[in-house]
Amino acid sequence: MSRPYLFALLLAAAGFAHAADKLKAGTFDPPREAPQIALKAADGKDFALDKYRGKVVVLEFGYTSCADVCPVSLALLKQAREKLGALGDKLQVVFVTVDPRRDTAPKLKAYLEQFDKSFVGLTGTEEQMAAIRKAYGISATKKMVEGSKTEYTMGHSSYLYFIDPQGRLRALMPFGRPADDIVHDVSLLARGQ
């Protein structure tokens, strides 16, 4: 192989490696420590976010009555976890409800089990959930369904929040990215990038 050709190949490989090393999600620089979350999980066990050091935690904020965003994101996360193979154990999905009034622990647990039994659900009092949202800079707005006095929907962030194995809030992925993008970013973070 001629030297110029080999050099060009090396350059191309270096460029590819550089592109492949970047997260596909939006990233923070410098990253800050993810605000602590400590609650009783939907399965009745105590949950503390800092107990998941060593894993990549993906937080999703949503609610079980969500018709469009939440089920799509949860299905993508399930798909990503499967695609990760052996690395799947390094991913912990945590679903934080923005509608604690309707999302009781049993309802949340049953809802998440439809997607993946490893997914953790968090619900609590209105105040507890509002404090978590505030720490992560998330707003949730209630909108009454037209013609109904009881039915409502919740407007909420559709981003996925990536916390690295050191417990730092590293990245936010917009809604609708393919499962492969989640796999890509979880793999990088799990490997310590």
Partner: protein, 145 residues
Amino acid sequence: MKRRLAVLALVPATAIAAALAWAAYAPIRSASHDALFEIPQGTWARRMAGEKAEILPDTITLVLGVNDVLLLRNSDTVPQIFGPVLIMPGQDFRLPFEQAGEHPFACTAHASGQMTVVVKPTPLAGWQRLQWRLQSLLDKAPWRD
């Protein structure tokens, strides 16, 4: 004499044609894909004092493959919320876009509380690329509409 004049006229015409052809067909290369928006120190204080402190435009236009990374820098002393993103003082948030489209965001750094990021496709070789280059010459920061 006439022939010499014709040749002299042909030289600049050829040069212009070559420049236009280059502008229309040469691949677009950019040193950085970042479109930087900085929230300067004192923004919050000025706003609290009732001053107008417009930092971000209503619309940010990005171009895929050219400047397709939105870089938000919070140089203020208080956290700022940009859509779902809480950016701490001294922190950057870098959001790459891979698809063309319109992305509306709620934003506390903007007086109206709203802004839209428009992501345009990569200018195709030919008229689109020529138009983009001409616009870039006129505007140092073409993503600010």
